[in-house]
Subunit: 229 residues, 2 copies
């Protein structure tokens, strides 16, 4: 069991290459800088359903997802988990205000499935950027795209129900549905009851999730690139 | 009337100083670079209630608000304007995905009151950053904070009604309410009917807006700095 668990994790070399590859798709990373850049990151294996940030904690890490999926959620007044964001391969995730100010967070970050990340803490990120200032451009471009994606998410939240507003993450959701029913049960129950009867279009889309959950078939498995990845 | 209108606009010199001052609060801007940096920007006076971006247009400009207030909205299926964002002094605003890709936008940007901005188009922004790469850090930090603010907004939208979720903008809203009733009538009617009867706390807060509108008294006029400013 442990062997199988470890077997599904990528080697640190592959994880590092994934991060450098992503950086190189935005800026020219000098070969002689690569080892120095990677030294600022910790390659971590996050176990499915473990929380790696909890409400009230200092937000230490900025995660780059190499393989797997993280979700950002908070616990509402009724004590119910409310997922606001999914991050899958080649996305970055943290609570940006708490990370920047190194203060406590109102959010949780949880691995939806066994997930491999390159993690960098705030001080290391600052030192990384001081040492390799051309990476400022990399993060600026990643954030610029993330800001745009957030504007669209907010538009969806005004336009549709909370359930439908999670649909930009359907490629992440569908994978969860297909392969991790114990988790997807929770996630689906979080999303499904919110679909108003009157909105048949939304109901149809969410029924697809249910179908994909039952049949273990990926929905939109050819979904294109991530919002910020 | 025209004289009064022009009189309320700031001189180009003051507008330029405001932008440079904001940049200098994040990065050290070299004195010898200042004129070169400013040459990439156009100082613009935007008239109250004019749209400076409309659905279906290419998103040309990234606006830095020197004085005044812009709002980002879209028109929903019912033909009703839906405001998703306000940007006041020292905030930046554009549709980031459309700006980055230089494609058409689903949004509108409108001046809520007579507004002075430093505007930069996409090509100029790219050339500015190529010529002064240390400004990548400035934009990275602005975006980083904007990403965090967006995460909180999305949390509010899941947690509260759409009306309450606009409350992080209360300093902008209150100024509109106090001084621009023709606009605030529209904005309030957009927000007010959404408050559910059961949520007395939200109703009370929105009643404050109504009160401030009636009495022309600023609500939270000492509100501190903006999300991304």
């Amino acid at each position: 069991m442990l062997g199988r668990l470890l077997g599904c994790f990528l080697s640190k070399k592959i994880m590092s290459e994934h991060l450098l590859g992503h950086m190189s798709s935005f800026v020219a990373v000098r070969e002689e800088d690569q080892a120095g850049i990677l030294a600022f990151f910790r390659q971590k294996n996050l176990k499915k359903r473990d929380n790696h940030l909890e409400e009230g904690q200092i937000c230490k890490y900025h995660y780059f997802i190499v393989k797997g999926c993280l979700r950002l959620f908070f616990i509402n007044e009724k004590g119910v988990e409310q997922t606001t964001y999914f991050a899958s391969e080649s996305w970055w995730l943290t609570d940006y205000l708490a990370f920047q100010s190194q203060q406590t967070t109102p959010f949780y970050i949880q691995a939806v499935e066994n997930t491999q990340v390159s993690a960098i803490d705030w001080h290391s990120q600052e030192r990384l950027l001081a040492q390799y200032p051309y990476l400022e451009r990399y993060f600026r471009l990643v954030y610029q795209r993330a800001c745009g994606a957030a504007q669209l998410r907010i538009k969806y939240l005004y336009e549709f129900s909370p359930g439908r507003a999670l649909l930009p993450f359907q490629h992440a959701l569908s994978r969860v549905c297909a392969t991790h029913s114990p988790v997807s049960d929770g996630l689906l129950s979080e999303i499904y009851p919110r679909i108003p009867e009157r909105n048949q279009k939304e109901k149809t889309i969410l029924n697809q999730f249910n179908f994909c959950k039952r049949t273990s078939v990926h929905l939109c498995c050819n979904q294109t690139k991530s919002h910020n990845g």
